[in-house]
C-alpha cells in the first residue's frame, strides 16, 4: 500500500492490542450512513505507480513554460543559483514544521533570524517577521496592522494609490471589506504615471489611518516616496511601503523615505529566489518600526540563550498570535511560507548586496534596451514620462490582447495587458526584461512585434 508500511501481521498484532477485530471497527463511532461507499469515489482515478505519474506529469510540464518571458507585473524571471533549491529541498528543511520545539529546530530558527536580519538590512527597517502568504496579502495585513497600530487615528479608512498592483488592491478589498474598512483610491497622473500628488493633497487634514506607497509602482514608475511619506506623517497617517525587494538593493529603501522613513513595509518576496512557478508559492515579507512590533502579524524569531548560556533562537512574541491570543490575535495566519523564506535567505546570501544590485541594474538595463527597440517601431510609445525601474508601460498601435496572443503563438510572452485594469490607458502593455534576457531575445521580440503590428 503506497506510503503505508504495515504488514498484515503487524495489523493483526496492533488490532489485538487495541482489542478490535478489524480496522473497520475503529470507525464504529461514526453514525450510520455516513461511511463512504466505493461508488462515491469512483470518479477519482485509481492509484498509479510513480513511474506512471512521472510520465503523466512530464508530458503536462512540456506543454507549459516555453516561450521567452517578457512579463513581469509582480513575478519576475530572475536567475536563481542552483544551490538555492538543492539546499532548500533537503529533507531537514523541506519536511520539518513550524519550529515549535525550538531545541529541535535550530536550523530553521537560526535561518529565520538571519532572514529577519537580511530583510531589515535591505529595507533599512527595525524589525521583520518571518513571512506572510504573499505580497498582496501583505498589503492587506499591513492595512489591518496600521488601523490597529495608529494611535493618532481612530479611522478605519486608508488611502490607496491606483498605481498599486491591481491584484493587490483586489485582495485587500476581499480581506478588509468585512471589517468595514474603507479603502479610498488615489488617482495617478496620466503623464508621469506617478500618484497624483495634487489629488493626494486633497486629503490633507483628514483622518486616515494609513497611506499605501508603492515603489516602484505597478507601472514600474518611481513614486515621490519622500513626499508621500512626509505627507502621510504630517497628516497622522502611517506610511505603508509596498516595494520590490530586489529594487531596494539600488533604490532608496523605505527606512530612508522622507524625514523619518516608512512605518510598515511589505512586498512580494518572489524576486528573492522563488521560481515563477505559476504564481506560487512565493512569500510576503513585512518589516516595521520597533514601535509597531507588537502589532505585527506572523511569526517572529528572537535570539535567546539556553540553560548553559549558549546562544539559541526561538519563536517569540507569541502572544500576538492566534494559537495564544485566539480571537484577539493580530492575524489568523498560522502556516506561513517558510520554505520560500529558506530559499530567499540562501539566495540573498549567495547574491549579497552587490549581486542583488547587479541583478537589479542589469534587469533595468535590459528593460531600457527592450523599450528602446520596441519604441523604434512605428506606433509603439512609452506611456509615461516618470523615471521607471525595470518595467515600463508601452502603448501599442493595435489591439493589445490580440497582439500579445500573436506574439505568444511565436513563443514570445510579450507583456501584461493593462486594458482590463486601466482601460483609460487604451491598448497598453507592461513589459519587463530581467537580467536573464539576452540581446538576441530582445532583438527577436522587437522584430516579431514589428511584424505583428505591421510596421
Amino acid at each position: 500500500m503506497p506510503f503505508i508500511p504495515h504488514t498484515e501481521e503487524e495489523v493483526q498484532a496492533m488490532l489485538a492490542d487495541i482489542g478490535a477485530s478489524s480496522i473497520d471497527d475503529l470507525f464504529d463511532e461514526i453514525p450510520e450512513g455516513l461511511i463512504v461507499t466505493e461508488d462515491d469515489l469512483k470518479s477519482i482515478p485509481q492509484g498509479l505507480p510513480e513511474m506512471d505519474v512521472a510520465r503523466l506529469m512530464q508530458s503536462r510540464a512540456r506543454k507549459d513554460g516555453h516561450g521567452v518571458c517578457f512579463i513581469g507585473a509582480g513575478a519576475y524571471d530572475h536567475h536563481i543559483p542552483a544551490a538555492v533549491w538543492q539546499i532548500t529541498t533537503r529533507g531537514e528543511f523541506y519536511s520539518a514544521y513550524t519550529p515549535y520545539q525550538a531545541e529541535a529546530s535550530q536550523g530553521t530558527l537560526q535561518l529565520l533570524y538571519e532572514y529577519q536580519s537580511m530583510m531589515t538590512a535591505l529595507m533599512d527597517m527595525d524589525v521583520s517577521n518571518a513571512s506572510l502568504y504573499d505580497g498582496a496579502t501583505g498589503v492587506a495585513e499591513a492595512i489591518l496592522m496600521a488601523i490597529r497600530g495608529n494611535r493618532k487615528s481612530k479611522s478605519k479608512r486608508v488611502l490607496m494609490p491606483r498605481t498599486v498592483h491591481p491584484a493587490y488592491r483586489k485582495v485587500v478589498k476581499t480581506i478588509v471589506k468585512n471589517q468595514q474598512i474603507e479603502v479610498v483610491e488615489v488617482p495617478f497622473d496620466m503623464a508621469t504615471g506617478q500618484t497624483d500628488m495634487a489629488a493626494l493633497q486633497a486629503y490633507a487634514g483628514e483622518d486616515y489611518a494609513a497611506l499605501v506607497i508603492p515603489q516602484p509602482n505597478f507601472f514600474g514608475v518611481l513614486e515621490d516616496v519622500a513626499g508621500m511619506t512626509d505627507f502621510a506623517h504630517a497628516n497622522g497617517m502611517l506610511a505603508i511601503g509596498v516595494v520590490n525587494p530586489l529594487a531596494m538593493s539600488v533604490i532608496t529603501p523605505p527606512g530612508q523615505w522622507g524625514e523619518t522613513g516608512a512605518d510598515i513595509v511589505v512586498g512580494e518576496g518572489q524576486p528573492l529566489g522563488a521560481p515563477l512557478s505559476s504564481g506560487g508559492p512565493y512569500f510576503g515579507f513585512m518589516c516595521c518600526t520597533q514601535a509597531l512590533v507588537r502589532q505585527m502579524p506572523g511569526r517572529i524569531i528572537g535570539k535567546t540563550t539556553d540553560l548553559d548560556g549558549k546562544d539559541g533562537y526561538a519563536l517569540t512574541l507569541q502572544a500576538r498570535e492566534q494559537h495564544i491570543r485566539r480571537s484577539k490575535a493580530t492575524s489568523n495566519i498560522c502556516t506561513n511560507q517558510g520554505l520560500l523564506v529558506t530559499a530567499a535567505t540562501i539566495h540573498m546570501s549567495l547574491l549579497g548586496a552587490e549581486g542583488l544590485a547587479r541583478a537589479a541594474a542589469s534587469s533595468h538595463h535590459n528593460t531600457n534596451s527592450l523599450v528602446e527597440q520596441l519604441t523604434a517601431i512605428n506606433g509603439v510609445e512609452q506611456a509615461f514620462s516618470g523615471a521607471a525601474f525595470h518595467e515600463r508601460v508601452l502603448r501599442l498601435p493595435a489591439e493589445a490582447e490580440a497582439t500579445l496572443q500573436l506574439l505568444a503563438n511565436q513563443d514570445v510572452l510579450g507583456g501584461f495587458n493593462l486594458k482590463d485594469d486601466y482601460p483609460e490607458l487604451g491598448d497598453a502593455i507592461l513589459v519587463c526584461a530581467t537580467e536573464q534576457r539576452t540581446e538576441d531575445e530582445i532583438a527577436e521580440y522587437a522584430s516579431k512585434l514589428a511584424k505583428v503590428v505591421g510596421a
Partner: protein
C-alpha cells in the same frame, strides 16, 4: 555562527550575478540607494556549507518520527517534489496565456475534481494559501451568502472551546463576534449549549470533525440540523481530514463549506512552517461566492480560468496570483499516486496507528483524556498527574522526548485539557517507530519518578539545551547587529 559573522567586505559568490555592474541609467540620483545594505558577503561555498550545516540542526519527517498532533506530519513523497519542479512548471509565468498553460491548468482542474469527490462538496477553489486563509475564505463566503440574502442581523460565529486558534481569529477577521461553546466530558460538543447559543444572530458554526480532541463528533447530523434550522451555515475545518479521507465526507455530514489543509492530508511538505494550501469546497448554495480564479474546462476540451467576470458574486481574490501553485501540484501528484483506493487507506491506517498508540500508552499507565472513546487519527494524553505529583510537566516530557530522538507531540493544545499531548502518528509510520515512542514515554515516566531534575533539565543531546523563552520575549533581539 551566523552567516553574518562569516562576512568579509568584498567577498562574494561571483558566478551568481552578472559579470559587470551596469549603470542605473534614467533613475534620478536622489532615488538611488546610497548605502549598501548589510547583507552577508560570503563565497558560494561558505553559503552552501553554512546552510547545509544549519539544516542538520532540524528534526524533520525525513529524519525523525514527528507525531505533532493536528499537523499530520506524514511522509512527503520525493516524487511530488521532483515532478512539481519540472522545468516546464517552474518556468510558467502566472500571467502566461492559456495557450502556454494547458499542462498546469489540466492538473488544477483534475485536482479540483478529485477534492470535490473525496469531500462530497459541490465545487472547489484552490486559491487559499493555507488553512487559516481557507478558513477566511469559508467564513467570508458565509458572510457573502447572508449578505446576498440581506440577512444582515447574523453577526456571530459559534466556535467550540477546543477549536484551533485560527478559527476564532478568522471569525474576527471576517467581522464576526465569536461565541464559544464548551466540550463535554466525553469529547463531544455540548449540544445543549449549542441549542442555547443559536439564534437569528447566528451566521454559522466552525467545527472540525473529528474534533481537535481526537474524537469523532457523533451527533454531527443533529448539530447540522440545529444550526441550519437557525439559519446558520456549517463550516468544516479540514485540518483533520486525514482521519476520514475516503471514509466520511464533510459534504455528507451537512457542511456548507470546508477548507482542506493540502499540506496535511495531501502530504505536501510543511517546509519548516509552510507553504501550505487551503483549498475550499462548498455546497451548492455557496458556489457563487467561491474565491477566484478557478480552473475550468472549456467546451473544446481545453482548459481556462474562471474569474471575477464569470463569478460576479465571488468573495474575490485572496492571493496576488492563483494560490500556491507548486504546493497544489504536489498535492495533485500525491492524489494520483494514492488514487481512490489509497485515500481510504490513509484514514484507515492513520486511525489504526493512533488507536494502537493510545491503547499501549493506556496500558502503560498513561492517562488518556478521552479513555472511553475511539481515537481517530490522533488522541490526547494528559500528564496532569505527573505535573501534580512529580512536578514534571508536559513540557518536560516533550523536551526529554527529543533526547530519545522523537519530535514531541503537540503540547498544551487543545487548551481546555491540562498538561496535554496531542499525538498524531499518521499512517506512514511503521509499528517499530510507534513502539519506540511508547518505550521512550515509559522510560521518561521512570526517569520522572527517579531522576526528576534530570528530566526537567532536558534536552541534553541537541545543538542547544533548553532555551529561555521568557528572555527571548523580554530582551527582544530580532536581528543581527554587529558588535
Amino acid at each position: 555562527m551566523l552567516i553574518f559573522e562569516q562576512s568579509k567586505a568584498g567577498r562574494r559568490a561571483f558566478a551568481q550575478s552578472p559579470a559587470t555592474r551596469v549603470e542605473l541609467s534614467g533613475i534620478p540620483a536622489d532615488q538611488q540607494r546610497k548605502d549598501k545594505p548589510a547583507l552577508p558577503e560570503v563565497s558560494e561555498m561558505q553559503a552552501v556549507r553554512h546552510f547545509t550545516r544549519l539544516s542538520q540542526k532540524n528534526f524533520s519527517i525525513d529524519t525523525q518520527f514527528y507525531p505533532l498532533g493536528s499537523c499530520t506530519m506524514k511522509y512527503n513523497p520525493r516524487a511530488c517534489n521532483s515532478l512539481a519542479m519540472l522545468p516546464g512548471f517552474l518556468a510558467r509565468h502566472p500571467y502566461a496565456p492559456d495557450s502556454h498553460s494547458q499542462g498546469y491548468l489540466s492538473c488544477m482542474y483534475d485536482l479540483q475534481e478529485i477534492l470535490k469527490t473525496v469531500t462530497g462538496m459541490k465545487e472547489v477553489s484552490l486559491v487559499p494559501a493555507a488553512g487559516a486563509q481557507g478558513e477566511f475564505a469559508g467564513v467570508a463566503m458565509i458572510r457573502a451568502y447572508h449578505d446576498a440574502r440581506k440577512d444582515d442581523a447574523r453577526c456571530e460565529i459559534i466556535v467550540p472551546d477546543a477549536a484551533h486558534g485560527t478559527n476564532p481569529a478568522t471569525a474576527v477577521m471576517c467581522g464576526y463576534k465569536v461565541k464559544e461553546i464548551p466540550t463535554l466530558e466525553d469529547g463531544d460538543v455540548d449540544v445543549e449549549a449549542l441549542k442555547a447559543a443559536v439564534g437569528p444572530q447566528t451566521a454559522g458554526i466552525m467545527l472540525t470533525n473529528p474534533s481537535t480532541v481526537g474524537v469523532f463528533e457523533r451527533r454531527i447530523k443533529e448539530i447540522a440540523k440545529i444550526v441550519h434550522d437557525a439559519g446558520g451555515l456549517l463550516y468544516y475545518d479540514g485540518a483533520n481530514l486525514n482521519a476520514i479521507l475516503g471514509k466520511v465526507r464533510p459534504g455528507d455530514m451537512g457542511f456548507d463549506v470546508i477548507h482542506m489543509n493540502l499540506h496535511k492530508t495531501f502530504s505536501t511538505p510543511h517546509g519548516g512552517g509552510g507553504p501550505g494550501a487551503g483549498a475550499v469546497g462548498v455546497s451548492a448554495r455557496l458556489i457563487p461566492h467561491l474565491p477566484v480564479p478557478m480552473a475550468a474546462k472549456n467546451e473544446d476540451g481545453s482548459y481556462g480560468w474562471l474569474t471575477e467576470e464569470d463569478r460576479p458574486q465571488s468573495i474575490g481574490k485572496l492571493m496576488g496570483f492563483a494560490g500556491n501553485a507548486g504546493v497544489l501540484l504536489r498535492a495533485y501528484i500525491y492524489a494520483r499516486l494514492l488514487g481512490r483506493e489509497g485515500m481510504v487507506r490513509v484514514s484507515e491506517y492513520a486511525t489504526l496507528n493512533a488507536n494502537y498508540m493510545a491503547a499501549k500508552l493506556k496500558k502503560a499507565g498513561f492517562e488518556l483524556a478521552y479513555p472511553d472513546r475511539r481515537a481517530t487519527h490522533e488522541f490526547i494524553v494528559t500528564l496532569r498527574k505527573q505535573a501534580k505529583n512529580l512536578d514534571v510537566n508536559a513540557m518536560d516530557f516533550a523536551k526529554r522526548l527529543l533526547d530519545f530522538g522523537f519530535h514531541a507531540p503537540t503540547t498544551y493544545f487543545p487548551i481546555h485539557v491540562p498538561e496535554c499531548f496531542l499525538i498524531e502518528p499518521t499512517e506512514s509510520e511503521a509499528k517499530d517507530a510507534l513502539d519506540g515512542f511508547i518505550e521512550a514515554m515509559i522510560a521518561i515516566q521512570k526517569e520522572a519518578e527517579t531522576e526528576t531534575e534530570m528530566v526537567k533539565g532536558a534536552p541534553y543531546t541537541l545543538p542547544v539545551r533548553r532555551l529561555d523563552d521568557v528572555k527571548a520575549a523580554r530582551e527582544l533581539n530580532l536581528k543581527y547587529q554587529p558588535s
